[in-house]
Amino acid sequence: MRISLSDVRKSFGSVEVVKGLNLDVEDGEFLVLLGASGSGKTTALRMIAGLETVSDGRIAIGGRDVTDVLPKYRDVAMVFQSYALYPHKTVFDNIAYPLAVRKRPKAEIEAAVKDVARQVQLDALLDRYPRQLSGGQRQRVALARAIIRRPAAFLMDEPLSNLDAKLRGHMRAELKHMQHKLGITTIYVTHDQIEAMTLAHRVAVLERGVLQQLDTPANIYNRPANLFVAGFIGSPPMNFLDGELVDGRFSAVAGSFGTTSRATRTQAVAGIRPEDCRVAAPSDGQIAGDVYATELIGDHTLVTCRCGGEMVTVKADKEFDRSVGEAIGVALAPRAIHLFDRQSGDRIV
C-alpha cells in the first residue's frame, strides 16, 4: 500500500530531529532510508510505525490518515535490529503471535505458521527457543513473524546489522527475493550504502533530519543532488576540488579543465569519482601533483595524489608501480565531472 509523509516533523525537547519530511512510497516499492547515525532515519521509521508520536505533519498508509492511530491499528509489521524475539516462546509461538493476538482459529494459525516457516526454511526448528538459534535463524524468525499476517507494509530497522559479513550478503539476497515475491511495500532503514544500493527501488538520503535526495540507486550515484550526497555515496568517496567556474571551464590550484556545463560561478566545487580518474604522465593530465600514497586492493590500486594542496584518489591498475613523491598527472573524463555550488552545495546543471 502507498505510504505518504507530508511535512512530518519530530522534536525531542528543543532538538528537532526530523525537519519537515515529505515522502511518497509507492505500492510494492522497496524504499531505503539511508543516513548516518543522528540523521533521523530511525525516528522517521518509528513515526511511521506509530512507536513515536509526530510533532507536526501527517502520515497516511493506503490513503488512510494514521497520524494519531495506535501502532496495532496501522497494519504494519516491523523487524527490529535486535530481532525482538520473545525469549520465553518457541519459534512456533513467536511466529504465531500476531495471529494469536488476533484470536484466529488454532487450525488456521498452525497452517499459516507452517507455510511461512517453509518459506524461510525454519520448518525443522519450530520447537526451539530463540536462544537455541544462530543469528541467521533468529533473523528468519523475525522475518517470518512479520510476513505471517500479510501487513500493509514492512518496516525494517537495520535488520542485517547484527549478522556477520558473509551471512549479511546472503540474507540481503533473500530479503530482496522475498520482497519481490510478496510485493509488499517496504521501508528499510540502514546506514550501509551497499545495502541501500543493492536492495532499494529508490533511496532516500537523510542528513540532520532533512531529505537530501530521493531517487533510484543509479541516479543517486550518477547524479548526486548535492555535495552531501556526492560525498556520502561511493567508496572510496568522491574527490572534491575547490575552484572557479567560468563559462563551463573549471580552474583549481592543481590545474584547469573543461566540463560539459556552460555555467559560471566564482566559487564552485568539482567532484569526480576515483574510478573516473586516470593516472597519466605529469604533462598529460588536466591536473598535476605527486604521489602521496598507494594501496593495492587486489584487482586495483588506490593511488592518492597531492594536487595543489588537495588530495585526489585515483583508481588505477593493479600493476601501478610509481613510488611516493613522484610527479604525476591525473586525467579526468569531462562527462564524469560533477559540479556543485560552493555556497549552497547544490548541483550545477
Binding site: A49, L51, P71, K72, A84, H88, P98, V101, R145, R149
Partner: protein
Amino acid sequence: MRVERPSLLRRLIEPPNLETLAPIPKVATYAALIAWSLVVLMPLYWVVITSFKLPVEVDTGPYYLPFIDFRPSLDAWHYIFVDLGNDTLRPYANSVVVALASTTLAVLIGSLAAYALVRIRFKVKFASIVAFIALVIGVIVAVVELQVPWQLAVVIAIALFILSLGTIARRFRAGLGNNDIEFWIISNRIMPPVVAVLPIYIMFQQLHLLDTHIALISTYTAVNLPIVVWLTRDFFAGVPIDLEESAEMDGASKFRVFFTIALPLVRSGLVATFMLVLILAWNEYLLALFLSNANAQTMPLLVSAQNGTRGPQWWYMSVLIVIMVAPVVVVAMFLQKHIARGLLVGAVKG
C-alpha cells in the same frame, strides 16, 4: 546488547564452585559452612525438641538429646491440636487466608504500578496534588463540622478535583516525575508502621471492620505495596523495550503486552518478591495486634499469647512455632531455584 554490570553481586551470590577449589581452601570452606549451619539450625532444632518436652524438663534442663537426655512426649502437641482444637486452627486458617490474599493483591497491584513507572512517563502537577489534599481536608471538615452528608461531599469534591485538573493545575508548570513518585512510594515504608497504627485502628473502628479479614488483608496489601513496587521495577526495567514494541506492532494491547510478554519474562523475580512479601505478611505482629481480636487472630498473636498469666509456656509456643515455620520452609525449598534466579535478574543477562 546490555552491558553486564560489575560481577560483585554475582560473586557474592554465586560462590566459586566448591569442586574446583584446592584441598586446603576446600576443607576450610566446608568447615566454615558447617559451623555456620550449626548456628543457623540450632534455634530450629531447639524449638523442635522443646515441643516434645514436658514443662518439668524445660524448667530443670537444659536437655539436648531426645531419647537420651529426656523422653519425648506428645503432651504439648495434644494440648495444641486437641484441647485447643479450633482455637489453634482458626488463627492458622486466618494466617493462611490473610497472608495469601494480601500477598497476591500486593504483587498484582504492585507489579502493575512498577511496570507503569518503568514504561510510562508521568508528570503530576504540584497544583493537582495540592488541590487533592485541600479537597480531602474540605470533605472531612464538611462532614464532621458542618454535618453535610458524606456522599454529597465526596461527589462535590471529585467534581471540583476534575474541574481543577483542567483549569488551575494546567497553569502551574512545576510537577513531579517518575523518580519522585517512586520515592514517595518507598517513603511510605520508611516511616515506622507504629506511627500509623492508631489512625488505621480508628479508621477500621469507624468502618466497623475491626477483627475482620478485610481489615488485615487491605492493611497488609497497602503496607507491602512499596516493597513490591520497589523490587519489581528493576525486573521490568531489565526487559528490553524492543520486545514490548514488537508485541505492540504485532497487534497486542498494553495489557496484553504486560501479561504475555513482560510478566512471563520477570516470572522468577515475581516469585522471589512473592515469597518475601508472603513471609512478611505471615510473620506480621504489630498491625495484627491492633486490628484483630478473636475472630481474625493470626498465628504470631497466638504464639505470643502463650506467654500469658502463667508465664511463658515454652512447650506450647514451640509447637506453634514449628507449625508456623514448616510451610514457609517447604515452599522456600520448592521455589529455591526461582528465588536465586530472581535475585540475579538484571545482574546476569538472560
